[in-house]
Structures are given as C-alpha cells and as structure tokens.
C-alpha cells in the first residue's frame, strides 16, 4: 500500500515536471538542453546512417559495365556544362571587381559556402527539422541553408560539427520574401504541411500563379534572391491582403547535401550605431 503511494507520488512528480517543461518552452531556440541532446544523439544517428550508407555504396558498386559507361558519359557532359558556367562566373567576378574600383567602394569580402551532409531529415513530425554534419567547419546560429534549387531553412542549434536546421516549412518559420517579377515584399511562413503561405501582400498588388518567390534580404538572416518557391494559388483574402500558397523550390524528399551560407557580420560602424540606440 505504502509502495503504491510512493509510485503514484513519483508518477505525479514526473508528469508535473514534463508539464512544466512543456508550458515553459524557452524562446531562445539554441538552448543548452537542445545542444546537449544534439551532442549525444547525433553521433549515434550519424554512425547508424553511415552503416546503412556503406551497405548501399557497396551494393551500388555491383553495377554492370554498360551502366558505368552511361554514367561516365553523363558526368562528362555535366562537367563540361559546369566548366562553362565557371568561366561565366569568373567573368562576372572580374566585372564586379572593376565596378567596385570605379565606384571607389571597399571590396566585399566573399566568405566560403559550407557544404554539409544531411544526416537526417524529419519532416513527418509537426516540427520539421534537419540534422546536418558540416565536417570540420564551424556552424553558427541563424545561418541560412539552401540547396541548388532553393531555400531550405536556417540553423537553430549547433553542437560541434552537427547542427539542427529549422525547415522553411516548419509552422514557426518565417522569411521576408518578395515576388521576383514585381519586387513586392511580404512574409513567407511555414504551414506545417508541404506548402508555404505568402502573407501581407496587399490585394492591389499584382501576383499571378507561377510567379517566382525569392528571399527579400531584409530579415537579417537570409540574403536577397534565394528562390523560395513558386506561387501555386492566389485567393482573395480579407479586405487587405491576398491569401497565397507557395510550392517550395527545394525538394525536401531528396535532400542529401545542403549549402550553409556565410553569415557575414555587419560592419563595425553599423554595430556601434545599433548598440548606441536606446
């Protein structure tokens, strides 16, 4: 009888502590609690995934000669295309340097983009996250993450080379965005589903199905011009704003490698001015 009471008391204490945790969720996403779990769980998950990938790689090696020849031809043509693109970008960089010289502005420091391996992608649960491994690179809170197709999300927790990324489709994710064709700005937010919502675009603004939506670059996290998605549906919302559905540009079901963009710090003068503000 006494033992039963102790069990009930322990159960009550445990349940109340979980309720307390749930009711007092910290606003800061990069919490110590999160980091601790990331540090302990991520290596185990990474190891298990590594074993599966290793088996997959070995299985892939058992391919026929014709498949290898076919793949080689395809890769050669891809390399040729990428080389052509590289030449074009080298020209653009030189042009940019010239323009900086003419305009007499300090040359922009172009930081390196970090390539990270996707360890796990969980977008089945309500809170959509991605676990990435950046190898030796150091990741920081709020760094933008993208693929070649478009925006993926931002880093919310880091621990060593591992980081947790909040996907743009997460219900609590929001990005300043614009319609690329008209440059009208609004906010794209995750809905928890496969589509995104474009909010705060006035009803008189010109927007059509198929319009490209990109980042607006005014939220201090995502640089301007990263594709977010395309407009899927435009409905007349309330008196002021459109109700717009956006199909994400990134294919979340095929995430393998992602690019973590540098979070170039603000110039010291601006930081000082911001600090001086009341």
């Amino acid at each position: 009888m006494m033992r039963e009471r102790w069990h009930n008391l322990l159960l009550a204490v445990l349940l109340l502590s979980h309720l307390f945790l749930l009711a007092n969720r910290p606003d800061a996403e990069d919490s110590r609690f999160d980091r601790m779990f990331l540090a302990t769980v991520a290596p185990v998950a990474d190891g298990a995934v590594g074993v599966v990938d290793g088996i997959g790689t070995r299985a892939k090696r058992l391919r026929t000669r014709s498949q290898i020849i076919e793949e080689n031809t395809r890769l050669r043509s891809e390399v040729a295309e990428l080389e052509a693109e590289l030449v074009r970008y080298s020209g653009l960089e030189a042009e940019l340097d010239n323009l900086e010289l003419i305009a007499n502005v300090a040359s922009l420091e172009r930081s390196e983009v970090i390539v990270a391996d996707v360890v796990l992608a969980d977008y089945a649960t309500a809170i959509k996250t991605l676990l990435i491994d950046a190898g030796n690179a150091e990741l920081r809170y709020n760094q933008a993450v993208r693929t070649t197709d478009g925006l993926v999300g931002r880093v919310v927790t880091t621990s060593g080379s591992y980081a947790k990324v909040q996907l743009v489709t997460d219900r609590s994710a929001a990005v300043s965005a614009m319609i690329a064709r008209t440059r009208r700005k609004g906010v794209v937010r995750g809905t928890g589903g496969s589509l995104l919502a474009f909010d705060y675009l006035p009803r008189r603004a010109n927007v059509q199905k198929g319009d490209l939506v990109t980042t607006a670059g005014i939220d201090g996290i995502f640089e301007r011009g990263i594709p977010i998605g395309t407009v899927a549906e435009v409905h007349d919302g309330d008196d002021l704003f459109h109700e717009i559905e956006v199909i994400p540009a990134a294919d979340f079901s095929r995430l393998d490698l992602v690019y973590v963009l540098p979070d170039d710090p603000l110039p010291d003068e601006i930081v000082e001015e911001l600090d001086a503000l009341p």
């Binding site: 945790l21 969720r25 769980v41």
Partner: protein
Amino acid sequence: MPFLRFLLALLVCIAVWAIGLRLSPWFPWWVDPFLVLVIYVGLRAAPVWGMVAGSITGLIADAMSGGTYGLFGFANTMVAAASDRLRRRLVAQDTLRLGLIFALAAALQQVVVAGLQFFVLASLPLPSPLMVAGKVLSTAVLGTVAIAVTEWASRAYHQWREARRRRLAIDTR
C-alpha cells in the same frame, strides 16, 4: 545491469529511428521505436524503473522530433505507468494478449499526445487517424516480436548455461 541493458536498447532505438528516417522521411509517421521500448520496460521492469525509463525515452523522442520538450516525455511516462498497471491486472503470456497491451498502450500515447497538442500547444496540428492507426498497429507487431525474441534469447542462454554446467560437472568427476 538493467540500466546498461536499457542504455543499449536506447542506442538501438536511436539507430533504428535514424536508419528508418534515412530510408523514408515518413518513417516517424508509422513507427516509434522509443514507444516500443517504453511499453516493453513498463511490462518487464519494476514500476519505478519503468516510469523513469519512460521519462528519459520521452525526452529523447522530444529532442529527436524537433525539441518540444515535455510532449513525449509526459506521454511516455504515462504509457510506462499504464503498461505496469495493465501487466498487474492482466496475466498476459500469449501473443494475442501481449499484442493487445502494446496496442492499447500505443493508443493511449497517441491520445495523450493529441490532448497535449490540442490543450497546451494549440499551434501544433493534430495527428491524422490513419497515422494513429498505423502507429498502434506497428507498435503492437514490433512489441510482440521484441518480447518473443528476448524470451527466445533468454531461454537459449539458460539452456546453454545449463549444458555447460552439466559438462563441467562431468569433467570434474
């Protein structure tokens, strides 16, 4: 020793979860290895240990599914306590009854999670009935398989020990 066994089982659960997610991003919709472990510990271990294991496993499940700490922690602690009570009321030895206990406990977890999402975290969407049914079914099947496998392994180990003891007894004679 029970703690080490639990830790090992927890590592296996994390590995299964990670591999499942790698194979299909929709894996957590249908299978919850942590839930299977919680019910298993609730059925097999002492009540206090079951509740503590439920709490730990729940917090890990919370961390893995986005970081809403307390959601699965609360649900899994309740599931562990309920499994212990079910074990004491029903003498479950056959596969069907064990499967039923696993299914009932999984359904309880889904109800508690949905209740917390609705009443405490109003911003999160409720799980779909199809997903709930899938999870209940998979937990019942995996739980029954886990119990059958561990019982078979335990029997095999004891038989091997008995055979070795007898052989040693013969050798020393």
